[in-house]
């Protein structure tokens, strides 16, 4: 299937794209990690980014969030061309991300991890720190109250004063998401939010992601667990060898021989073996 064909089909759904990649490429010393990925992420939906290992999923997330520059191609948030913008500018447009391996701010408490997130904090300015302590105190109290609510939702309230480095692996995963939620995202990129967590926690995190969608957040998540994709994702983008292989609903993709061969086949075969 041609890449322009993919785009047309996504447009055909009549949804507005919150995020768009056009022919993005990225090579690491000759290895083409991303090789012309083109896709739309529909607004207000949960989209899964799937593909075999080495398909370039994390690299795409890194490029979209500004942690990495692409070699060619363009990326858009809404109508804004944000190709190779730095992370902090992309974040200011409302796009936040989590990391495949949790990256907690280890020396800060769990509560402080969340308090770093809100945008436009008066207390980040030296002038305000010196001259307007009252303003900062009011803002801090409001942010702290909001953060405690979020921690309550994510089951981390009891750990609010714990240093983040002391959390367990699953708790760190939750903290990653809670921190991104605290930033009031419009678009959320989740890089394998379910990787390495127990089934109960998968259900819990899945529930939180659906709640986020219902509050109007666009979600793009890298995910290997097709059960999760089937249950909570509205759309699926399949990457293989750095290209967009197909997009659509999972049920449609199961019919697509290319997709089955490149990715689903492995899973189906693995399933058959049991």
């Amino acid at each position: 299937m041609s890449e322009s064909g993919v785009l047309e089909r996504t447009h055909a759904t009549g949804r507005i794209a919150a995020l768009r990649c056009e022919a993005v490429t990225k090579a690491f010393q000759g290895v083409h990690a991303v090789n012309g990925a083109t896709f739309d992420v529909p607004k207000g939906q949960i989209t899964a980014l799937i593909g075999p290992n080495g398909a370039g999923k994390t690299t795409v997330v890194n490029i979209l969030s500004g942690a990495m520059n692409c070699d060619s191609g363009r990326q858009f948030i809404g109508d804004t061309d944000v190709t190779n913008w730095p992370s902090h500018k992309i974040a200011r447009l409302g796009l936040f991300r989590t990391f495949q391996l949790s990256r907690e701010l280890y020396g800060l408490t769990v509560l402080e991890n969340l308090l770093v997130a809100p945008a436009d904090q008066a207390g980040d300015s030296l002038v305000n720190v010196l001259l307007r302590p009252g303003l900062i105190r009011r803002q801090e109290r409001a942010h702290a109250e909001h953060a405690l609510e979020v921690l309550d939702t994510y089951g981390l309230y009891g750990h609010r004063d714990t240093r983040a480095r002391e959390l367990s692996g699953g708790q760190k995963k939750l903290l990653e998401i809670a921190r991104a939620v605290m930033a009031s995202p419009k678009i959320l990129l989740l890089d394998e939010p379910m990787a390495g967590v127990n089934p109960a926690l998968i259900e819990l995190i899945g529930g939180h992601i659906v709640d986020l969608k219902q509050s109007g957040v666009t979600v793009l998540m890298v995910e290997h667990n097709l059960n999760v994709v089937e249950q909570i994702c509205d759309y699926v983008i399949v990457l293989a060898e750095g290209r967009t292989l197909a997009t659509g609903r999972l049920s449609e993709l199961r019919e697509n021989t290319d997709v089955v061969k490149a990715y689903l086949g492995e899973v189906i075969d693995a399933g058959a073996a049991h």
Binding site: H88, D124, L204
Partner: protein, 334 residues
């Protein structure tokens, strides 16, 4: 006797200021500034030339010679260190991190030392500056003996003021953002923080403290000699910081008291070992090095470790202490 005690008091409070400046750079933001003493020296030199009168035929070579009164000379000395930090930061802070930044900065420190030591027409070479006016000495009619207690007290007051400001900065969201950058700057950037801008801010604030600390030193001693600003001096400030406890401003005072006062300056007042004049002073650096190693081995968080900021301090209303939702999720799953 009073003279000795107040000399120690002066050095304790002066190094308290210096350590606070290094703490915001290294302890809070993680910038390994191995050129710190260079910024202290810049502050000292400029405070000196701002307070000296034009060089004329005094036999000294220096620039400016504005004859400004205290504390304007001191403030401008601090600002001069900041300007220098801005230039250094624009070159180094954008791309360099950790060890690589440290290597470049320690080289800078060496270059700066050789430059000052050899550039006679600008810095008076190895002679440095001397006869720097002692603040208020004339107007208050202070003698050599009464100036030292007086100036030690002035330094104490200034350091407490600067501590007040610094603790405000480190407690504010600004301090938290700096610590976030120290822990993981990729995360901080992904949360919308301008990492370079924040690191620059930290560098500038710290350098102002370095400059003021240096300015006080030159006014206390009345002279500026390049050999007192060897790159190795940076590590004395690091020792103060590590012994005191990185990330804690009170710890900086404790560190200054233990390292600068007790280990470096107090031994100078001990009676000589017969037959080995000056031997005690030569042991200073070795002792500081040993203490530093012992601290890093047995108590890396310092005598006064950085404190956690707990929920109550944000003034948010307490919620019922709920158990984590995980238990409910497990039950639902089963």
């Amino acid at each position: 006797m009073l003279y000795y005690v107040f000399t120690l008091v002066f050095f304790c409070f002066d190094y308290f200021i210096l350590a606070m400046g290094l703490n915001i750079q290294y302890g809070e933001t993680g910038i390994l500034n191995f050129a710190y003493i260079g910024f202290v020296a810049i502050g000292a030199y400029f405070t000196g030339v701002f307070s000296l009168h034009p060089a004329g035929h005094s036999g000294q070579h220096y620039i400016l010679g504005l004859g400004l009164p205290f504390p304007f000379n001191l403030l401008l000395g601090g600002l001069a260190a900041m300007v220098f930090a801005l230039i250094v930061a624009l070159i180094t802070l954008r791309r360099l991190r950790t060890d690589y930044l440290a290597i470049v900065l320690i080289s800078l420190s060496l270059v700066l030392y050789d430059f000052c030591n050899n550039f006679v027409s600008l810095f008076n070479g190895a002679d440095g500056l001397y006869n720097v006016p002692e603040p208020f000495a004339k107007s208050l009619g202070l003698t050599v003996n009464s100036f030292i207690p007086f100036f030690a007290c002035v330094t104490a007051v200034i350091s407490l003021l600067m501590w007040f400001v610094m603790s405000r900065i480190t407690r504010a969201p600004l301090g938290r953002t700096l610590r976030a950058i120290r822990d993981d700057e990729v995360v901080a950037a992904a949360l919308g923080k301008n990492v370079f801008g924040m690191r620059l801010k930290s560098m500038l604030i710290g350098s102002f403290y370095a400059g003021v600390g240096g300015g006080l030193l030159i006014q206390f001693g009345g002279s500026f000699n390049p050999t007192a600003w060897l790159p190795g001096e940076t590590f004395v400030v690091f020792a103060v910081l590590i012994v005191g406890g990185a990330g804690n401003n009170i710890g900086m005072f404790v560190g200054a008291l233990l390292v600068e006062t007790l280990l470096i300056h107090l031994p100078a007042f001990l009676p000589e070992i017969p037959g080995h004049p000056g031997l005690i002073e030569y042991f200073d650096n070795a002792v500081v090095g040993i203490v530093l190693m012992l601290m890093l081995w047995f108590r890396p968080e310092g005598v006064v470790p950085a404190r956690l900021r707990r929920t109550a301090s944000f003034g948010a209303a307490a919620r019922g202490d709920a158990e984590p939702d995980l238990t409910i999720a497990v039950a639902a799953h089963e």
